[in-house]
Amino acid sequence: MIMLSRVAYQLYWMARYLERAEDMARTVNTYTHFIMDLPRGTEFDWNVLIEITENAESSRYFNHNAKEQSVLRYIISSPKNPSSILSSVRFARENVRTTRNMLPSEVWEIANELYNFVEEESEQSITRKNRFKFLSEVTEKCQLINGHIMTTVSRNHTYRFIKLGHLIERADMTNRILRSSAGAISRRKFKNTTFDSLLWTNMLKATSTLGTYRQVVSPMIDGNSVIDYLYRDRDLPRSIIFCIDGILKDLKSFTEDKKITNILTKIHARLNRFDVRGMGFEDFDKFSSDLQEMLDNLDYMIRGALFEIEQL
């Protein structure tokens, strides 16, 4: 099967943007619920959400103690934030539009619907009243697209590049969520362990893994186990090691690029050695920021090796 490099790149980014919108919607939803469960005066603030999407733009716009509405506007409906739900959906749809002939027609129709929905509703959905319904619908529509792709796209390049985009973005998002939350916990002056377990429960909800955690790990929820589970459980589709395994397997079929294999093996080794027990926050922060950097590098190399073909 022939696939243009540009088209492969657009499919890859379509998948990344869809995964980003979906993960962000789920995170904002659970974080809202978490905050609602907290007593007044607790030190968790909305800034954690900004930290998750942290990019060059966000540090320019926000200082600490930002207000709920302005944070949510930035995360959900701001066109200035390149990672807002609105921007992600816009970019995803634009990429579907230009790769339409490689995808099932339903994917275009749903992506278009999702885009119209977000364009019309996102601004009114930053209030708590409308937020939940809006975010759930974003998640559902993304899942609907995933379902169509999984059941109808032939297992060729089209599928491979979409899968690659999803896996990298998911690993990236899971790492970001864990890192920001751990940071928020470590910053507290007054320790209140009752709310710690609530926070970790919500972390599992944000990644849609609460149920399986209970079955596989334990009905008791503690921070270390949650972190270990989300980084290292090989069977869990949302865990980072699962994503890395998937990328390795996927890339093997179409590239022998040494640099890519090296960085993937390196990430793998780091995850295998990783033991959160007895780690202080600083160590964890270093680990997760190193991982972030390696993931960014991986994206950069994939771009070079697969999408920028040298001329004869």
């Binding site: 243009l4 490099s5 540009r6 002939n101 001329q311 004869l312």
Partner: protein, 498 residues
């Protein structure tokens, strides 16, 4: 025996619609469906009867359903405006246009004849120039035309077919006779709308097909694929074909994506392609460079190759002309084809048919006056209010003057334009374009229309059964272009009318 209670029919409404059909009158124009006596033509009888039995609300419901189908199918076209480009839903009228297969057979022959002659002409002017030497077409008209490309001298593409996809605009005069208005040999568009129109009719008026045997149109992508494959310079089983689009911001992007998908070929942009030192065109794929045999280009030739034409073009591919000239690549339509799609050259098509094929034209040309000829110029200037003045090189209905409708100020402006640059203008008598009943704002009214069939020329010649019917939605207007508020109709070629 019927179990359900008989439907309650709003009888008065039916009569209301019925009355609208009874009152329908196209006056001094030829109407495609209704004869001058007010009765439906034989070929249209079953369709008109079906509509006569629909209440107004039913008609509106069908119209609404069509709009919805078009939105769901994503059939759109782009309108350029100064601020931004707007994606608009394709305008479609629920009443089809009907042509008998008997008439079509002849038209189809005429269209093939015409394209054959035009391609012989292009091949001739870039090679031996016999027609110029014989003085049948004035040499200066060809050689000095901006559409005559020196780069194409001495080249002869496979089968001598330069224009492989041609969209010919036909109109019917009040005497019922069809004329060719123009031949579009550069990058004619509209075919996807012709196919989608049929699909919409199938969805919203399924019962209308019952009494007819209508020639299917869905074969087009396969025929186009066959035509393009036949041009491949390499004799291989599966030549690599790519459709070159200027990108998502082009008004016809929908069509480009539609055709690429229906043929299963790659939809490429200039940046996806490159030409190697040994003049071979490649596309950049994830498995490395893949050689391209045929490019179906949907960009104007001025933008095709910055090495040769406009150097500021970012849409094209540097070196693509080298690949073409070395015979390693076919481009459809071939660069330089535009030389025959010029309103001044148009006038000589009947002579070309005689010269190259030794036949007489099956479909007539519209009488055309060249302002570059001093005697004809005199005639044009003194009869301007009876004529349509067209710039030689424009398309899309822009920059023309419709004499009978123009204000005196406009006439003065055009007289000056012509006097300043006579060779840039031609004039034609105003035709009284035929009409067809069109459903607008709950009433049925005559509207003017034209027809654009598509003709393919590779190893064979092939004509679409029917074509794209465009209809002017404004009362009395002759401008059918969708960019200027025109609509469209499904077009049927029908056999065995009961």
């Amino acid at each position: 025996m019927s179990i359900a209670a008989p439907e309650l029919r709003p009888v008065f409404k039916e009569q209301f619609i019925n009355e609208k059909w009874e009152k329908y009158q196209s006056q001094k124009f030829f109407d495609e469906l209704i004869s001058s006596s007010g009765n439906p033509r034989i070929k249209a009888r079953a369709v008109v009867n079906l509509f006569k039995n629909m209440s107004e609300s039913e008609m509106n419901a069908r119209k609404k359903a069509a709009e919805l189908a078009i939105r769901d199918m994503g059939v759109s076209f782009t309108v350029y405006s100064s601020e931004r480009n707007i994606d608009r839903a394709w305008p479609y009228d629920i009443i089809p246009r009907i042509i008998s297969a008997f008439e079509w057979r002849n038209i189809s022959l005429g269209l093939k004849q015409r394209l054959k002659a035009l391609n012989s002409f292009i091949d001739d002017v870039y090679n031996q120039q016999l027609i110029l030497k014989e003085g049948i077409v004035p040499e200066s008209l060809v050689i000095q035309s901006p559409n005559y490309k020196q780069e194409c001298r001495g080249i002869s593409p496979p089968y001598g077919a330069w224009a492989n996809i041609c969209g010919t605009d036909l109109v019917r005069h009040s005497n019922g006779k069809l004329f060719v208005l123009e031949d579009n040999l550069r990058v004619p568009s509209g075919i996807s709308y012709m196919l989608e129109n049929r699909e919409v009719t199938r969805r919203v008026l399924p019962e209308i097909f019952e009494n007819y045997s209508i020639l299917p149109v869905d074969d087009y992508p396969a025929q186009l694929f066959k035509t393009l494959s036949s041009l491949s310079p390499r004799e291989i089983k599966k030549p690599c074909i790519a459709l070159l689009t200027p990108g998502i911001f082009n008004s016809a992007y929908f069509e480009h994506a539609f055709l690429a998908r229906s043929m299963g070929i790659q939809l490429v942009e200039g940046s996806d392609l490159f030409v190697s030192k040994n003049n071979i065109l490649y596309m950049k794929t994830v498995d490395g460079p893949v050689r391209v045999d045929v490019v179906y280009r949907r960009i104007d030739e001025e933008f095709l190759d910055p090495e040769i034409f406009r150097s500021d073009s970012t849409l094209g591919v540097p070196g693509i002309m080298r690949a073409w000239k070395s015979g390693n690549l076919s481009i459809a339509n071939a660069p330089g084809s535009g030389v025959a799609d010029d309103k001044a050259i148009y006038r000589y098509v009947p002579e070309m048919i005689k010269f190259y094929l030794n036949e007489s034209p099956i479909i007539s040309n519209v009488r055309t006056y060249l302002c570059s000829d001093s005697r004809e110029l005199d005639y044009v200037l003194s009869n301007i209010e009876k004529l349509v003045i067209k710039p030689v090189n424009e398309s899309g209905g822009y920059g023309l003057l419709v004499g009978p409708k123009a204000s005196s100020k406009e006439v003065v402006r055009f007289k000056k334009l012509i006097a300043d640059n006579p060779s840039n203008y031609i004039a034609q008598p105003t035709l009284r374009l035929s009409t067809a009943p069109t459903y607008l704002n709950s009433s049925i009214e005559p509207r003017h229309l034209d027809l654009r069939p598509f003709i393919l020329n590779g190893s064979d010649l092939w004509v679409t059964p029917g074509g794209l019917t465009r209809v002017a939605l404004k009362k009395g207007s002759l401008v059918v272009n969708s960019s200027q508020g025109g609509g469209s109709k499904d077009t049927w070629i029908v056999e065995n009318i009961k």
